[in-house]
Amino acid sequence: MSKVAIVGYGLTKFSKDDFKIESVLINATKNLFDSTSNLNQKDIDAVLVSTNNNSKYLSAILSEMMGIQPKIAHSVESLCNSGTNSIVAAYSYIVSGLAELVLISGAEKYDSPGQILEWDKLRGQFKHPIFWASIFSKSYKRKYSITDEDIALVSVKNHKQSKNNPNAFSQISVSVNDVLNSKKLTDDLRLLDCSRPCTGGASILLASENIYKKFTDDPIWITGIGQKTTSASFTKNLAFHTMESTKQAALSAFQMSKQNPNNIDVVEVHDAFSVCEPMALDSIGFTKLGEGMKMVKEVYLTENSKINPRGGLIGSGHPLGATGIAQTIEITQQLQSKAGKRQVDNANVGLIHNMSAAATSSTVLVLEN
């Protein structure tokens, strides 16, 4: 199978700004062009846009505004893992030979319609994500004898790490007490346990092995892809203390890349809510089930930022369609040793975990330098 490299990227700052979705896509892509050498619009075979925004024909609009006339242009939507779904689509276009170079841009606005899955009537009146997050949190705490204080550490760590990320939504430090004393949304969830919807964009450029050299001396290879969708309804999850779709996606990604959890030097996990971080670490297989919090504590106490170095979704903010791409850019920069103050030592193999709708769908990517 031919190989696919990440050869360029661009981000916008994540904020509460009320920019037009088209402007966010264009700004992230302009930053990609500015930072990628030898990139000519004529080289781009496909333009994919990932977003939950209601605006239409965004890939054609982005192409026109950037002076690109691609062969393939369309949007990709899958709620919160739209971003990695678009990366997987781009990968497939390249491996199939339909494209040599694919531009992907993900963007969202702070008031995205992707925050609530209206279709899922089985949630009753409890449709807002804070309710599934409360059920996950309660279940995880009960099953593994974990406290609110324990879980609050995820938010403390990710807020701390986002202070080294100039594009992050949050630039503040918080303590365990700040988290516990923040607004109580339910008995099992505080405001500072939540990632915040925001406005932001992330663009990334994928190339075949025939042409990657034109754009970079530092290609990062996508060596593993795993995806699994178990359902759409939250209540169809088999259990609420583990992520079945993540387990299966991780197995596939490890199998394809011939890597295993012990080889992963740096990881971005989908901490939509603080409990999701230890749950994802368990489900990916970094720890035994129920020991994800131990791993979080250990890295925090040793000042190791290998889990969510850019601050995760909690610190960086969560512009849904951009999130999976921003996570992938972070791992790319880490493997290129270009992550600045966030740099993790000896990062050669990295992993991205991006999921949707209460873990009913997951993507896991493995990247290598």
Binding site: Q125, K138, D188
Partner: protein, 106 residues
């Protein structure tokens, strides 16, 4: 759909495939295994609490019925316990959302 028109009247139905002998959930006109038409029947109003939490004074839970289907709703009386029995006292549709009110069975 049968399910919603009956739910509006306060009846909680489930769709069942007589060929596959399974309850199809979420409620659907067709079986998601054999794709034949489902039949409808009243669901037992007695269920079990799988998980719960609380917002202000309101307990909400994931409840399981007929040892098979799960749905979220509100607990209007009693103190919930994991695996505790509950009973549907009211159900319907408000603002296009389903609602389920349950009481804890002592």
């Amino acid at each position: 759909m049968n399910f919603e028109s009956e739910l509006k009247k306060g009846n909680f139905l489930i769709s069942e495939c007589i060929h596959c002998k399974i309850i199809v959930w979420p409620p659907s006109e067709f079986c998601n295994q054999c794709l034949n038409e489902n039949s409808w029947r009243k669901c037992s109003r007695k269920g079990k609490i799988i998980e719960f939490s609380k917002q202000k004074e309101t307990y909400f839970c994931v409840a399981e019925f007929e040892k098979s289907i799960k749905i979220m709703g509100e607990i209007v009386s009693g103190e919930p316990k994991i695996a505790g029995q509950i009973y549907i006292v009211d159900c319907g549709i408000v603002n296009e959302n389903y609602f389920l009110k349950m009481r804890v069975l002592e």
